[in-house]
Subunit: 607 residues, 2 copies
């Protein structure tokens, strides 16, 4: 009867770096889309284009041409780089945008603290105070000879690298020939005013997040910490896409390295400003990350990491002069990277083994670091077995219809109480989407309520099970309640993503146990590390079958063990020797060569 109106087109908007995706109707501005998605864009002028607080950068796709308001507010070079005002730009295709941190009102939650094992203080860099006589016609020794001969009273014949030597004459004269010299073995790595504290830096380069810790090398105390997003996200969300970027784009590898180093230099700035520490006081850094992050940070080729059989260039520990990397510390500072175990078990997992002292446990203990790749180690009778499984990005909120990273507004807990859904969001704000721990709770809860069968199919009757686009979904947060004009739901596909993730993790655990002739019940402790692992509900994880059914007190959620391990390695030479030893001893199990892996994995998919 009525005229046929063509259905309005819908575009998909990806908000980076927070990882939120939403579909909007043609004609919505990016600001509308952000508000619908619950992304907290600053918008001081209320969206009329007369401030630039909602500035963001168009990375992929097409928007309407810049308005005259945008031409007023944005510089020529910003416009050229793709910056837009979210309140003015209207998508004309699927788009991906990058939100600068200053345009976000609530920064994403970053996990930067990990539990630290007690570590005896034995740092690679130590102080030596010198009181020199200035040069004169009667004493014509070179600056270095003068310094060296004074140090030799206390230490072995010292050496100096060229970058530190360049800074030496100005410093000795500025400090009037009295100085605190920092020595790394026999090498002069810093020349500072007397009574300056020697500091070190521990860095965990995650695929998604960066965590940095400023540590007093003389006391071992962490005096400041700072986190940020890994800026490489703009060039690929996961390890595979970054390796591909590095290999296929001109200077791709260099770009990824430079962006990362820039972000780390900003973190160092932040740490220094907070603590009134000078960059020159930072005399060493320990950097951990998965093998791909390790290689991209160091500038090593990653081609062979992206092709079978996926071997690293270097598994041994590396020492790189900070100046070679462009990392702005003391000119003599070195960066230490612990050994990688395999192509997909990196220095970050080595740092976890160090932080947890897994190698010296006399119990049977398993350590699990959950991420897009999940690394698992099993300590038993002095053996260390280790594997990596592709658990996918579902726990980071990716591939989940209303998934998002653990940022403000994410549903992080969900419970059925007397059959009613109870939600808890990060920051206590109205729900915007679901992060990893929330979806895990949801699936566990739905299983408990009998709303899912063992294959992951929605079943039973519940007013929250509704039809959407012809499929059944479970409504976690109806639009009417969350204020975003949009239901937040769990779909059958979401449940399947969780099944794939938990199935892979559980298969990895079971194969390690099998290799050691053990059963799950033999495990005396299971250590859960990593951001996601810290926030999950263990009961939910057991309920979905990700973990074996063991008493709750056998599980330990320890936070960022990689960061903690980096800090340990910063203040202990001894632990660096241990890391080398572990590298030589660990039994790496390559799951893809196990003929039974596929079978075990398929079995573990079910609930």
């Amino acid at each position: 009867m009525s005229e046929t109106t063509s259905k309005p087109r819908r575009f998909q908007i990806d908000f980076e770096p927070i990882g939120r995706r939403i579909e909007v109707e043609q004609g919505s501005t990016l600001l509308n889309a952000a508000q619908m998605a619950g992304v907290d864009l600053v918008s001081i002028c209320g969206g009329i284009g007369i401030c630039n607080s909602c500035k963001l950068r168009l990375m992929e796709g097409r928007c309407s041409s810049p308005t005259s308001e945008e031409r007023d507010m944005l510089s020529e070079s910003e416009l050229r780089s793709g910056f837009r005002l979210a309140c003015q730009a209207i998508p004309e295709s699927n788009v991906k945008v990058d939100i600068p941190s200053e345009s976000l009102s609530t920064p994403q939650r970053l996990q930067i603290e990990g539990r630290m094992a007690e570590t005896a203080l034995d740092p690679a860099v130590v102080a030596c105070d010198v009181h020199l006589t200035p040069p004169s016609l009667e004493d014509l020794r070179s600056d270095l000879s003068r310094l060296r001969q004074s140090i030799m009273d206390q230490f072995a014949n010292p050496r100096i690298g060229i970058e530190m030597a360049k800074a030496l004459p100005t410093r000795l004269r500025d400090f009037e020939w009295q100085a605190r010299v920092a020595l790394r073995g026999s090498e002069v790595v810093g020349v500072l005013p007397l009574e300056t504290r020697l500091m070190g830096l521990a860095i965990d380069v995650g695929t998604t997040k960066l965590a940095s810790y400023l540590v007093d090398l003389e006391s071992g105390v962490t005096v400041a910490k700072a986190g940020a997003m890994n800026p490489q996200i703009a060039y690929g969300e996961d390890v595979i896409s970054r390796i591909s970027y590095a290999n296929t784009q001109q200077a791709g590898r260099e770009t990824l390295q430079v962006k990362l180093i820039e972000a780390l230099n900003e973190l160092i700035d932040t740490l220094c400003q907070e603590t009134e520490v000078e960059r020159d006081q930072i005399l060493e850094a320990v950097v951990v990350g998965n093998t791909a992050m390790h290689h991209l940070f160091s500038g090593l080729p990653v081609r062979q990491l992206g092709e079978a059989p996926y071997v690293p260039v270097v598994s041994e520990s590396l020492d790189i002069p900070a100046t070679n990397l462009g990392l702005l510390l003391s000119p003599g500072a070195w960066v230490y990277l612990p050994p990688n175990i395999a192509g997909y078990v990196g220095a970050d997992h080595m740092a976890l083994l160090i932080a947890t002292r897994l190698y010296e446990k006399d119990q049977i203990v398993m350590a699990v670091d959950i991420g897009t790749n999940t690394e698992i180690s099993l300590a038993v009778n002095g053996r260390l077995l280790c594997c990596s499984c592709a658990s996918g990005p579902a726990f980071e909120g990716a591939h989940i219809r209303d998934g998002m990273r653990a940022a403000s507004g994410a549903i992080e807990r969900m419970q059925f109480i007397d059959g009613e859904v109870r939600l808890q969001t990060i920051g206590g704000t109205p729900p915007v989407g679901i992060c990893g721990s929330g979806i895990l709770d949801a699936v566990a809860g739905m299983l408990n309520e009998g709303l899912l069968d063992h294959r992951g199919v929605l079943q039973g009757k519940n007013r929250r099970i509704q039809s959407m686009d012809g499929k059944e979904v479970f409504v976690l947060s109806p639009a009417a309640e969350n204020g975003h004009e949009r239901d937040i739901v769990v779909t059958r596909e979401d449940v399947n993503e969780i099944q794939l993730a938990k199935g892979a993790i559980r298969a990895g655990m079971d194969i390690l146990l099998e290799e050691a002739d053990l059963e799950a019940k033999d495990l005396e402790a299971i250590i859960i590390a990593g951001a996601f692992g810290t926030y999950i509900d263990i009961e939910s994880a057991i309920r979905v079958g990700m973990f074996p059914e063991l008493p709750a007190d056998r599980f330990q959620q320890i936070g960022n063990a990689a960061g903690a391990g980096a800090k340990n390695l910063l203040i202990s030479k001894e632990l660096r020797y241990v890391a080398e030893e572990i590298m030589g001893q660990v039994e790496y199990i390559e799951l893809t060569t196990r003929t039974d892996f596929q079978k075990i994995f398929m079995e573990r998919l079910y609930f």
Copy 2:
């Protein structure tokens, strides 16, 4: 009676890098000036501005505006950089110009060969062939582990620097897992195809000239040599003006380093092309130079070298990764610089001590390396005494009216035969100017002929003693004979310059003898090193009093001993230890602190 005509203005033209200066009348083109000065500028079109073969760069002063011919022949960027056609540009003030080597028809004579003492082959870099199994799912070792475990069968646990590690995966795969690995101690510094020869590079960085030698590390044979001008000349002729440039100009130090490295990279290119050697085959370089050249090459500050008490930043030997310097060798290659002895006795003199084995002589031997600074060492009874004297640039042709460097057309020999002047020029071409050995001969000859008194004043009657600008001069080559419309003469001021130079050198020699309680006649040998020292007539040098009167067979002219020493150090680890020992043992005598120096110097000025 006649009208007063204003005398035409005259401008002084400095031709660099060959160091020739001439005065011309207003209105002369730069090409006219070059031809008058005997500078062999290429001029294919005959000076009508239709080729660009006489292209040069205006460095200081003002010329006429570029003509339409120049605008046709030179690019915009060349014009902006000050390039001009010599046949078109007319000086409007005193000017200094830089002649690119392609615009010179006869390159300057460079001295690149020095006598080599027999040195046992014991290079820092040695070869180790490996035959590896490729990675597979059953053998997932990293590239480095694979390589390392194969090398460990023959050598201690090897390490790798980050730059070499970056190149490792491509090379191992390109060479199909068979490779010749170059090891420097336990460090992998090169990965080459099997059967490749390991090469090294010895470089002597002179203030004026660069000499480079490509050496086969497995046989010790020098397979090629190449020389060039030091491009830093454009920023200051001598050490002092370069130190001043480094300290006063923005990024002055970096500019001097970059220009030098660029020139060295060109030399390396030349050496490689001549011998079909790849850069990757060059696994180590040894670089020697005076302390200022050493510091400018390394990028070390030179401020304290230009201010009393003139101390170096580093006197110890230095090892610098070639990649840090921008020197294009194997990515793992190191550059070794031997120790400096003092602010004005550099690593080049150390190399001379090594090449001559002066430290192990059981005779009483003196070694003299003559240059703008002259370094002198005396070996006696196991002692090594050493000093430096400011002999000035007269022997390089500077501060001499018709002086020039030892390039084509320079008078290099002069004799009175039956009262007649006989000249010999470099290349046998008509005389253009006088170089150091020529002026020394001229002064000695004039003394023999009774034309100079002991103070250096022209005396006696000779048709060649003529008046010029109201002063008496000695005409070496009349305009009528040399075809340049200009007499080549020796002035009273020229003679004084030679007196200052020879007085300083002789005073230094005498003070060292005095320190050792010796007289000149006790010297069993005098070794004369360096470019100038190779070409001088010893009799002339004795006649002017630069050297003591000793039998001719006690003098040895050995050529570029610094270069020879660099080659020795390239193939012998043992000699590097010796150099360190010498640095600790040599007795450096600072002449300026000697109260009797001025008196001895004044006495030695006379003939």
